[in-house]
Amino acid sequence: MKPASGWDRLRAWFLLPARIWMAALFAAPFAIVIVYSLLTRGAYGGLGQPWTLENYQRLFDPLYLEIVLRSFLMAAATTAVCLVLGFPLALFITRAGPRKNLYLQLVILPFWTSFLVRLYAWLFLLRDTGLINTALQHLGLIHDPLPLLYNNGAVLLGLVYGYLPFMVLPIYATLERLDPALEEAAADLGAKPWPALLHVVLPLTAPGLRAGSILVFIPALGAYLTPDLLGGGRTVMIGNLVQNQFTTARDWPFGAAISVGLMALVGLIVLLMLRSESETLV
C-alpha cells in the first residue's frame, strides 16, 4: 500500500486550510458563545461570574416563549405556502419539454440576486408611500394608506419570496427522476389526471417535498433580516431577539443562550431528517 500513503499525505495538506478556518472561525466562536451563555450579565452590559443556568431558564419566560412560538408558526406557515406554490411549479417545469432549462433558470435567478435588494423591492411596494398604496390612492379606491407593512403577513410574504427556490429545486429533482411509465400505467388503469397526480405522483415525490420543507423551514426559523425589514420591530422572531440582546439590550449571556437554543433546534431538525432519509434509503 505504498501509493496510498502518498495520497494520504497530500490529502492531509489539502484539508489543512479548511480545517484551520472551520476550527478557528466556526467551531471556536460557537464554543465562546456556549461559554458566554453560562455567565452572568455584569454591570454596564459586561460579562461576569458566577456560572449559571439562569439564561436558559429565562428562555421559558412567557415573554420569550411567545417569540419562539411565533417563529415556529411563521416558519411552518412559510413552509406550507412554499409547498403549495412549489409543487405545482416544479411539476410545470418537469413537463415543460424543451424550455425546461429556461423555466428552471427563472426560479434560480432571484436566488443569485441580492437578498437585501429583494427585500427592499417589497418595502418599495408595500410602504405607506409605496407603489401599491400610492396607486390605490390615485385611483381613488382608498383615502388613507393601507397598513400593508410591519405585520405578520408582510413577514410571511417576504419569507416565502426569499426561500421559494429552495422548495422548488429538490421537488423538481425528485420529479425528474420519476419514471413517466408510472403515470401512464395509472392512466391505463383508468385513473384520471388529477387522481393520478394525487395518489401516484405526489406520494412518490415525498423525498423531494421533505428535503424542500427542511431547506425552507430552517432558514425561516432563524430568519433575521426579513422580519427586521418587513416586520419593522412588530413581528419579532428568534433572530431579532438574538440581535437585540447583542446590541440594544447588551445582555450577551442571554443572547448567547438563545443562540445555543436555536442551534440545538436546527441541529435536531437536521438529525431527524438524516435519520428519516436513511430509513427511506434502506
Binding site: L10, P29, P88, P110, Y161, G267
Partner: protein, 252 residues
C-alpha cells in the same frame, strides 16, 4: 390540467420577478415619489456623486475578491481531500455552517473577535469581515466542487501515476484542469454570497469598513429613495451578468 398548471406557474413567476422589475422601472422615474413622472437617469448620476456609496462599494469589492480567492482555494483543496477520503468531522462542520442562522454566526464571530482583542492589538475592520466571509463561503465552494468531482473518473489519476507522475503532479495536471469549470462556478457563487451579505458583515465590520449592503440597509431604513432603486437595478444586472458568465463556463 396542463392549462391550469401553466396559469398557476405564470402567476408564481410573476410573484418572483415582478417586484424586482417594478423596482428597476421606477429607478428611471424623474420624480422622487412613487408616481411616474417621466424618464430620467439622474438617480443613476446621483449614485456616482455620493462618496459614501463609492467608498462602501469599493470596500465590498475588495472584501468579495479577497474572500473569494481564499475560500475558493481552501474549498477546492478541501473538496478534493474529502473526495479522496471522507472526514465526518470536517464535512459535518461544513454542513452545519450552511444551516447555521446568519445572525448566530454573526454574533459568535463578533464574540470571538471581541474576545481576541484582549490578547491581540487589532480592531474590527476589513480584515475581520474578510475572515468571516471566508468562514461562511468555504462550504458553498466545497459543495459545488464536490459535485464536479463526482463526474470525474479516478482512473485518469491512476493512469497519470502509472505514467510516472507524482500524486501532486496527477492532481495539478490532470484533476485540477478537469475541475476548472466547477471551480469557476464555485468562485462566482462565493463572490455573490460575499458581496451580498449584510447580517454577518454588519456584526463584524468596523467604523471604516462599511460595505455596500450596509449602506443600502441604512438608506432603506430611512425611507424610500429612487437612488436605492437605481443601485438595486445595477446590482441585479451585475449578478445577472455573473450568472450568465457562469452558465457559459459550465457549458463549455
Amino acid at each position: 390540467m396542463k392549462r391550469s398548471l401553466a396559469i398557476f406557474a405564470a402567476a408564481v413567476y410573476l410573484f418572483l420577478h415582478l417586484p424586482l422589475a417594478v423596482l428597476a422601472i421606477f429607478s428611471f422615474n424623474s420624480s422622487r415619489f412613487t408616481v411616474w413622472q417621466g424618464f430620467s437617469l439622474h438617480w443613476y448620476a446621483a449614485i456616482f456623486q455620493d462618496p459614501q456609496l463609492a467608498e462602501s462599494a469599493w470596500n465590498s469589492v475588495v472584501i468579495a475578491l479577497v474572500a473569494t480567492i481564499l475560500s475558493t482555494a481552501a474549498g477546492t483543496l478541501c473538496a478534493y481531500g474529502l473526495w479522496k477520503r471522507g472526514s465526518k468531522l470536517l464535512s459535518g462542520s461544513l454542513y452545519l455552517s450552511l444551516v447555521t442562522p446568519e445572525i448566530v454566526m454573526g454574533i459568535s464571530l463578533l464574540a470571538l473577535f471581541q474576545w481576541s482583542f484582549r490578547w491581540l492589538h487589532w480592531r474590527l475592520g476589513l480584515h475581520t469581515v474578510i475572515l468571516a466571509h471566508v468562514a461562511f463561503s468555504i462550504a458553498y465552494v466545497v459543495i459545488v466542487v464536490a459535485a464536479r468531482l463526482r463526474t470525474f473518473s479516478p482512473a485518469l489519476e491512476e493512469a497519470a501515476l502509472d505514467l510516472g507522475a507524482t500524486e501532486w503532479q496527477a492532481f495539478r495536471y490532470v484533476t485540477l484542469p478537469a475541475l476548472l469549470p466547477g471551480i469557476i462556478a464555485a468562485a462566482l457563487l462565493a463572490l455573490t454570497v460575499s458581496f451580498d451579505d449584510y447580517v454577518i458583515t454588519s456584526m463584524v465590520a468596523g467604523v471604516d469598513s462599511e460595505t455596500l449592503p450596509m449602506v443600502i440597509y441604512a438608506m432603506a431604513r430611512r425611507g424610500s429613495s429612487p437612488v436605492i432603486n437605481a443601485i438595486s437595478a445595477l446590482i441585479v444586472v451585475f449578478f445577472g451578468a455573473l450568472v450568465l458568465i457562469s452558465e457559459r463556463v459550465r457549458e463549455s
